[in-house]
């Protein structure tokens, strides 16, 4: 047996009354911003819900982040980024803002019942897996419908799985699911596979995979747990039921902007608009990573944007003091 032990748990911090910079989100963009801000000797607080590394942390193995010729686990990368930020004094608070006023000067945030102020905010809240909102999806979530292969894959040992979405996320997670499942069928709306070729080859090598292209997912069926999916061939319109025990959805991502949506400018898809300095429409507020408009959703890009946001925030703060 092979075990790993994550030490990335964030110990409770004694919150100060005020900070130079508060960063919301601890994925690659947020943690990189924290490294730059704390190393520039700004008092820095990272507010994070969940584990260090963000969405990258639920990726089993990352092969395209420079510096790791053999690849690196998402969990390990997140942990290392967090440790690096903490080394320069960044504090990490585990939780969500209860209230938030980012338009005021200074900006006000309520955390765990305590009011704090900050002169600058960097939003790096990333994205969350999108739901398709087909019949049966909400009712059967946690009963065979899942959005997290690394979480729920072990429940489908020797079972039949349908993965919806043949993008890179869908195929990559299918490779992970092949460790457990007997068979994985990837259903894709478009007539072509969108995933990177290297991932498709690896998926095919598992010998457990098949693609069904140009099919629409109409609904997920099952009484108290998933029994199958109903799909429709898009050109002929013919429908059929594909029986399975689990359905994993990788149909895209939605930005997590709920607490800021009324304050900062968003594009028509709900992503935060930023300029080349990662500035948002509000003075003293920057955004970085997957939550921003036009993001390529790559760790390497998020890291770059996080660094830019922190450097720009530092310039802003020094010009104001």
């Amino acid at each position: 047996m092979d075990f790993s032990f994550s030490v990335s748990g964030t110990p409770e911090v004694d919150l100060k009354d005020s900070y130079d910079v508060v960063i919301i989100g601890a994925g690659p963009a947020g943690l990189t911003a924290a490294i730059y801000a704390s190393r520039a000797q700004l008092s820095t607080l990272v507010v994070n819900k969940g584990v260090a590394g963000g969405l990258a942390a639920s990726t089993e193995w990352i092969e395209n982040y420079p510096g790791f010729p053999e690849g690196v686990s998402g969990a390990e990368l997140g942990r290392a980024m967090q440790a690096q930020a903490q080394r320069f004094g960044a504090e990490i608070f585990n939780g969500e803002p209860e209230t938030l006023d980012i338009a005021s000067h200074p900006k006000r945030i309520k955390l765990s019942g305590k009011d704090i102020t900050t002169r600058a905010v960097i939003i790096a809240t990333g994205t969350t897996p999108k739901k398709l909102n087909v019949p049966g999806e909400a009712e059967l979530t946690g009963r065979g419908v899942s959005y997290c292969a690394t979480c729920d894959g072990p429940f489908f040992k020797d079972k039949q799985i349908v993965v919806v979405g043949a993008g890179s996320s869908g195929v990559q997670e299918s490779i992970f699911l092949a460790k457990f499942a007997a068979k994985i069928t990837i259903v894709e709306f478009l007539p072509t596979i969108q995933a990177e070729k290297i991932l498709v080859e690896r998926f095919e090598k598992t010998g457990k995979g098949a693609f069904i292209l140009n099919h629409e997912l109409l609904g997920i069926e099952g009484a108290d747990k998933v029994a199958g999916v109903r799909i429709r061939e898009r050109s002929s319109g013919s429908e059929r039921l594909l029986s399975c025990d689990g359905v994993f959805l990788y149909v895209g991502l939605a930005p997590q902007t709920a607490p800021f949506a009324d304050a900062v400018g968003l594009d028509k898809w709900g992503y935060i608009e930023v300029d080349s300095s990662q500035r948002t429409s509000i003075e003293g507020v920057w955004a970085a990573g997957d939550v921003t408009a036009g993001a390529t959703r790559q760790i390497a890009a998020a890291v770059g944007a996080g660094a830019t946001a922190a450097i720009e925030a530092e310039h802003y703060l020094s010009s104001k003091s």
Partner: protein, 219 residues
Amino acid sequence: MGMLKDEDKKYLTEQFEEKMVDPVPILLFSQKLECEYCQPTEQILTELAELSDKLTLDIRNLQIESADAKEFEIDKVPAIILLRDDKDQGIRFFGIPSGYEFSSLLAAILDVSAGTNDIPDDLRAKIAAIDKPVDIKVFVTPTCPYCPGAVRAAHKIAMLNPDHIRGQMIETTEFPHLANKYAVYGVPKTVINENVQFEGTMPDQAVVEHVLAALSSRD
């Protein structure tokens, strides 16, 4: 070779040195046979306990010391209990705390050592007022990055009223009969007193409300 990496040992030694206040005795119920995860759990806890003078590990056998097991309501192994001044803190880990759940264990150790946690005062009062038994089971897998949030909530609530509340982490893959019984196909899944359940991670306040709902629906 050890299970903990040298760099992690160094990091944890510093964390414990800086943040541990009072000693935390760790009690592990284990057995030699027919328990695939007992030996690795003994090993990781042994390595962990070596990193601080304030951590001690007491390994007991489920069969031989069955009276103790009964006292702590342990019916399966491996099972980890954290104590403070010899007093049960209501915190349970059933199954190996590997992967992301190792961070749940570390956080629980620091909370127990400090004798407190970050639950706000208004919720504390509601938790302290509970005078009936509450059992919070949180089903997890070690590879689930969202699970420690749910486990933390259960443990934090339990340690504020350990006479009445139990917060249990259950590593689902080790106890498939429980996964079946509670229909766990996705994690984290929380089951409170057999009658209230929810999937996913929620803020502490929402978990406390579910606990209160579980108590009122039983009356």
